[in-house]
Subunit: 291 residues, 6 copies
C-alpha cells in the first residue's frame, strides 16, 4: 500500500504544477543550451527530457545549441589551431567547415536523439536550412577580420513554425547564411535571442554553467534574481559582468527589447533547473524583464 | 535552498510521469463520476482538478455524472415519494421533471464550475442537447412499467466531439431523448459506456465508493485487479456481484465489447485515484479488458 | 385540382418571402423570449418553429430566455419566499440554487426540445458554460444588497459561435459567472442585449406580452412603430415608460449603441409575430434604431 | 390590421413548408429546363425565381438547359437549313458553330441573368469549360452520320462542385468536348441525367411542356404519377411513349439507375410547378424511382 | 547522339529561364488579347500555349479577350449594320445580342479550347457571371447615345479568384452587367485594366497588332521602350498617339495608377512575344510604369 | 534584333517542354545523387539547378545523397582506417561518428546550399530526424559483423511530406535510426528506394558515374535502355552486373516492386542528364519498369 501512498503524493505534485502548466500553455520557449552543461551525458539526457516534458504539457520549446568545445576538440584532432580575438573565434575556411560539420552533423543530431528518447519527434536543422538565420559578416573588435563570423540580420521563422505546428521539437544549430549562401559562424546566444524575438516567444532561457548574474563575480551569494533591461545595460556599461556572461546578458536584453516577456539565465548543471524555473514562483538564476 | 530541493524533487516526479503522459496523449477517457464520491465538496474539487490535469497533459476527458441522491433529496423537499423496482427508479412525470431539473440544472452545472475552477473551459450538456443520447423506453423486471426510464439506442457524438475539439471539457447529464423528443431517465453507468464506445474512447473509468470488484463481497482484501470480459460475464452469472456493482460491471463489459481498450472501476473517494490509475503501472481498483 | 391550386398559392407566398430571406441571409438574430408568451404550450411550440424556420432560410437565430414565473412557482413549491426590490429579485443562496435549477434544468431544456421538434439540432447552455456570461454583483437601488444578482461585464461568445457554426440553435439561460466562478442571476433582457452586441448581431428581437412601446401606457392605439436611441433615452427620462418595459427598452438602447442594427419589441403572444416582423416591410411592435 | 392577418397567413404557409425544407436541405437538384416553358419571358422569370428559392432554403440546384428552338431560329436568320434524322439534329460545322453560339452566348446568359435577378449569383458555363462534359461522337439511327452530335462519356464535375460550394447557381449548356477538344452537340436531357449521376444528386427534375407521362398519349387524364425503372423500360419497349418523351424517360431511367433517388417529369408551364413538386406530398407530373 | 546534344541544349535553355520563373512565380498576369493577333489560327494556338506555359511555371494568367471583328462579321451575316461614333460601337438591342452571343458563345469558347489543348483546364465566363464586371451606361462623345455601351464601375473578382485558386485559366468576355442586370458592351482594354487592378495583378500585358507605342506613328524605329505614367499622360494630351492605341495606353495608365506594377503593350503577332516579354531582361514593345 | 530571335528560339524550347511538364506535374521524383557526379563543383551546381527547375515546373523532387568518398577522406584526415567487407563499409563507433558528421554536417548542407542558390528553399535532414528512416542492424555476408550498418525497416515519411507541402526541397542523408535511437549507416541507394516507395513516388532516378546498365560490362555500346523487373532479377542472378551497379539495380527493383512507376539509372556526369531523362521521349540510361 505504501507504493500507492507514494503515487498519491506524486499525483499531488502533478496537481500543484497545474497553475504553471496553465500559465505557459501554448507558450513558445526558446532554450539556449550550451557550455559544460552539454558535455555531461547524464545531464544532457535530463535536460532533453525536461524539454520533452514542456512539450507534453502544452508548451512549444525550441532548442538552440552551442558547442565551442566540441569544435575545438575536432580542430585539434585534425591538427588545426583555434584562434580567438576577444573571445570570438576567428573562422577561416577550414574552421568554418569543421564548425558546421560538428555542430550540424554531431551536436544537433545528438541532442535531437536525446529528445526523441524522451518520446517526442525532434528535427535538427541548421540556420542555413530554409534560410532560417539570414546573416552578414561581422567586423571584429578594432576592425579585426574574423573570417566567416556573422551576425543575424533577419530570421525567417516559417520553417521552424511549420515544424512546431506539426508536433516536432526543433534543435537549431547556430549557423547563419550569408547573402551569397555561404555559412557563417553565429554566436549561439545571439542566435537564440534573434529566434525568440522572431517567434514571438514568451521566454528565452539560457542554460549555462553558472548560477546566473552575480553582483560580485567572485561571490556566488550575490546572485541577482531579477533586473530590468535598464539595470542590465547599466551593469554591462559598468564592466561588472564577466566576459563569459556578456553575450548571455546582451542576448537577454536583445530578446526582451524585441518583445520576449522574460529572459532567464540559469544553471544548466543543476538537475531539472529548467523545470524549476518554470514551475516555481521564485525561480532560480537571473531574470531580465522590461523596465 | 530546501525549497529548491523540494521543487527539484517535484520536477523529478513530473519527469517520471512522462511515459504515462506519452502513452495516453490524445486518448479519450470517459469518466463516470457518481455516488458518495460526488457528495463531498473537497473530493469533488479534487476529482475535477484531476480531470483538468488530464486535459492539460493532452488527454481528452469527458465526464458523465450520476446523482440519484440529489434527485431523492429534491423529491423529498417537494413532498414526492421515490419508488424503486429492483434498484431502478420508477420515473413518473413529476419524477422525470425533478430528475432533469436537478441533474442538468444543478449537478452538472456544479461539476462544470469545479472543472472551470481548475482552469479549463467546461460545458455542461444534457443528453437531449443535439440529440446526443437517443433512447427508448425500457421495460422493467417482470414487465414492470418504469415510466420515463430509458436505455440508449444511438449516440450522436458530434456535438461532444466538436466541444472537445474546441478545447472544452464536457460534463454530460444522463438524460436521453425519446423518438418523440421527451426526456428519459438513463442509468449513468450505461450512458457512460455507450458514450465511450461511440467516441472510440481508450478508457472508461468508473469512480464509485468502493475499491473495485471483490471476490468475496465482504472481504476488501479479495479485490480483483484485472479480469477479462469472459470472466466478468461468468461472475455476473454466478450471482457473486453485489447489486450496486452490477450496472458498473455490465457497463465495463459493454464498453470493452464495443471497442474501448480498458474499463476501470476505482474508488473515487481516495484522493487522486484517477491520476493514480493512469499514472502508475499497477493501477488500483478493478480493470476489465477483452479476452 | 384544388389542392394543387392551393399549393400554387402557397408557392407564391414562398416566392414573395424571397426578398426578406435574401436581406437577412447569414444574419445573426438574438431572440429574447420570456413572459407570458412562454407559458402557453401551443404558443411556445409555434415560436420555436418560427425560430427553426429562420435557421432553415439561412439566418442564425439564438434564443435567450427568461423564466421568472417558473422560478417563483418552484420557490413556492419548496416553501421559499420570493422577495423583490423595485422589480429586482433579491437572490439569496437558496433562491440562486432554485433559479439556476429551474432555468437551466427545465426552461432551457424545454425550449431546446421544442426547437428540436421543429427539426433543428438545439443545444441549451447556461451563461456559466465556457464562461460565456462573465458578470459581477450588482448593487441594488439605494445600495440595497440584492444577493447573487449580477450584471454582465464581458461576454465570451466563442462557445456560442462554435455551436452556431456547427449548425445548432443555442438556447442560453441568463446565468452569469462571477470572477470566483459562482452563479449570478442576470436580467434576461440585459443578457440578450450583451450577447447581441458581442455576436455582432443584426437584430435583437424581444418577445413579450405587449404589442410594443405605447405613447400612452393605457391606450394600445398609441403604439410607437419606430424611435431612435435619442428618443428612447428621452422617453426613459420622462418617466413615460411602464416598469415592465424599462429593462426591455434599456436593452434595446444598449444593443443599438453596441452596434446591433435594429432592436425590436414585439408581442410574442401573436401567432408568428417573429416571422411577421422579419418578413414584412411594415413590421409590428416597436423598433429602435440608431440616430 | 388585415394586412397583418394576411401576413400571418403567409407566415403559416412558410411554417408548413418546414418539413419539406428539412427533407431536401443540402440536396443537389438537377433541373433540366427546356422546351416551350423556356420561351415565355414571364414563365422564365418565375422558374428562375423558383430555382433561387431552392438555393435560399438550403438546396443545391443546378440548371441544365435546352434550346433547340432558338438554334433553329438563328439558323434560319443566317440562311442555314436545319436537318433532322429521327428527331436528332444533324450537326455540320456551321450548325455546331450556331448551336454553341446560341446556347452558350445567349440562352445560358439569359437564364443566369434571370437567376441573378432573383438575388443569387449565377455562373453560366459550357460543358467544354473545365472539360465538364467529356463526350464522343454518336452514330445515328441506321449508321447515319450526324456530324458533331455526341454522347456523354465522362463527367468531370469538379468545376461545378466548386462553383456550388462557393455559393453560385450553375447554368450548364449541353455542349460536350470531344477527345480532340472540339465541341459536340449533346441532348440536354441526357446531359442533365449524366450530370445528376455524377454529382450524386437526390433529384433530377425535367421541366417540359407536358404534364408528364400519359398512359394514353391522347388522354391527359391518364397521367402516370409514379413508376419504377422496370415499368419505365417496359413502356419504352411497348412503344407507348411519344417521341418527344422518349429522351426524357430514358434520362430518368439513366439517372435513377445511376443512383439518383428520384427523377421527375413535370409541366414547366404551370406556375411554380417546381416548388409544388418539391413542397407537396402528392407531387404533380410523373416520378420514376428504382424498383 | 545528336538528338541528345540537342536536348541538352534545350535543357540549358530551361535552366536559363529559371531566374525569370522565380521572379514571377505566383504573380497574376492579366493578358488582354485581341485584334488581328486573334484571327490567325496558328497564332492563336501559339498564344494560348504560351499562356498555358505561364500557368505551368507557377504564374496565374487570366485572359481578357476582344473580338470586334467577329462581331462585325456576324452582324453583316445577319444583315445588321455596324455604326461607330469616334471608334465606339453604337450598341442597340440587336447589336448587343449579337455582341454577347459572339463574344461569349464563340470567341471565348474558342480561346478556352485552345488553352485546354495546351493541357490546362480553362473556364470561359462573361463579365455578367457572378456579376464580375459591374458597369453603367457610358455617354458618348458630345453626349451621343451609344446604347448598351458601358464602363466598369466595380469588379467583383471573387469568382475569378476562386477559379484561379482551383487551377483553371479564366477567359473573360468583356460584357458588363448593369444595375438592372442587363448586358453592356465594354471596351476590352478597359475591362482588362479594371480586372488587373481588382486582382492586384503584377502585370497587364496587352497583345495587339503593333510593336508598341511609337514616338513617330509612321516610323517603327521610334518604338518607346519604357515610359512613366506622367510621360504617358503627356503623350495622350499631345495628340501624338494614334486612335487605335489610345484606349490601350489609357488602360495601361489606369492599371499602373491602380497598383499594377507594370503594363505592357506588345506585338501579339510575333511568335511567343508574351514569353519573350516575360523571359528576357530587355523586353519588347512598350512598358508603362509608375513615376 | 538577333537577341530577340534567339529569345524566340528559347521560347520555342520552353513550349516544347510543355507536354513533359504536364505529364509529371505534381509527381514526386526521388533523386539518388552520389558518386563522382557529386564531387565536381560545377556539376553539383548544375544538378541542383536541374532539381530546382523540376520544382518550379510543378514536380516534387527529393534528394537522397551518398558520400562514401567524403567519409573516407575525413577518416584518413583523422587517422582512421576504412574497412570494407564485400563493398560494405564496416562501421565501428568512430566510423559511425565520422559518417554522420560528414554526411549530415557537410555533404547535405552543401547540396542544400546549392539548391538554394537556384532559388528554392531547401532543408537538409538526417534519416534520424523525425525517425524518418527506421532501421535495424544488418548482418554482413557470411554472418560478418558490420557494426553500425543498417537496413531500412520502416519509413515515416510524414516529416518529408510536410516539408514538401510547405514548398521546401528536402535533402536526406542516409542515416537510419535503430530501435534504441542510435544512428545506423544505410546504403544510400536502398534508402532512396525505400523513401520512393513510402512517398508513392512516380520515379526514382539514380545519378551515378556510368551511362546505365550494360549488357557487356566492358562495352558502353551495349547499354540496356529498358528492362522489366523480371529481366533485372535475371541479370542479377546471372552475375552479369558489375559490383558497383548491384545495389543500384536492386534498388530499382525494390522501388518498382513497391509501386514506383519507373526507376532510372543515368549518368549524372552528363550535363542536365536529369532534365534530358524527364524531358525527352527516348530518355538516356537504363529504365526499369514492372513486368
Amino acid at each position: 500500500m505504501s507504493e500507492h501512498n507514494d503515487i498519491a503524493a506524486r499525483a499531488e505534485v502533478l496537481i500543484e504544477a497545474l497553475p504553471f502548466i496553465q500559465r505557459f500553455r501554448g507558450a513558445t520557449i526558446v532554450v539556449k543550451y550550451g557550455g559544460a552543461a552539454m558535455v555531461d551525458e547524464e545531464l544532457k539526457r535530463s535536460v532533453c527530457a525536461d524539454v520533452a516534458l514542456l512539450h507534453f504539457v502544452g508548451m512549444r520549446p525550441v532548442i538552440v545549441h552551442g558547442g565551442g568545445k566540441k569544435i575545438s576538440e575536432m580542430m585539434s584532432r585534425l591538427g588545426l589551431e583555434a584562434e580567438f580575438v576577444e573571445g570570438l573565434r576567428v573562422t577561416d575556411d577550414a574552421t568554418m567547415e569543421v564548425a558546421e560539420m560538428v555542430l550540424v552533423g554531431t551536436v544537433a543530431q545528438d541532442l535531437a536523439a536525446n529528445v526523441q528518447a524522451a518520446g517526442v519527434s525532434a528535427v535538427a536543422i541548421s540556420g542555413r536550412d530554409g534560410c532560417t538565420l539570414g546573416a552578414c559578416r561581422m567586423v571584429g573588435p578594432g576592425g579585426a577580420d574574423l573570417g566567416h563570423v556573422g551576425e543575424v540580420t533577419d530570421v525567417r521563422a516559417g520553417l521552424i513554425r511549420d515544424l512546431i505546428a506539426a508536433g516536432h521539437i526543433v534543435v537549431l544549430s547556430p549557423i547563419g547564411v550569408s547573402p551569397e549562401g555561404t555559412p557563417l559562424n553565429i554566436n549561439a546566444d545571439h542566435a537564440a535571442a534573434a529566434l525568440a524575438v522572431s517567434l514571438g516567444a514568451q521566454k528565452l532561457v539560457t542554460l549555462s554553467d553558472v548560477p546566473g548574474l552575480l553582483r560580485d563575480r567572485d561571490d556566488p551569494s550575490t546572485l541577482i534574481s531579477e533586473l530590468t533591461v535598464a539595470q542590465a545595460r547599466e551593469m554591462l556599461a559598468s564592466d561588472a559582468v564577466g566576459s563569459g556572461m556578456i553575450p548571455k546578458l546582451q542576448s537577454c536584453i536583445q530578446a526582451v527589447e524585441g518583445g520576449v516577456e522574460r529572459a532567464h539565465m540559469i544553471d544548466g548543471s543543476r538537475p531539472h533547473s529548467l523545470l524549476i524555473e518554470l514551475f516555481s514562483e521564485s525561480g532560480i538564476g537571473t531574470m531580465v524583464r522590461s523596465d
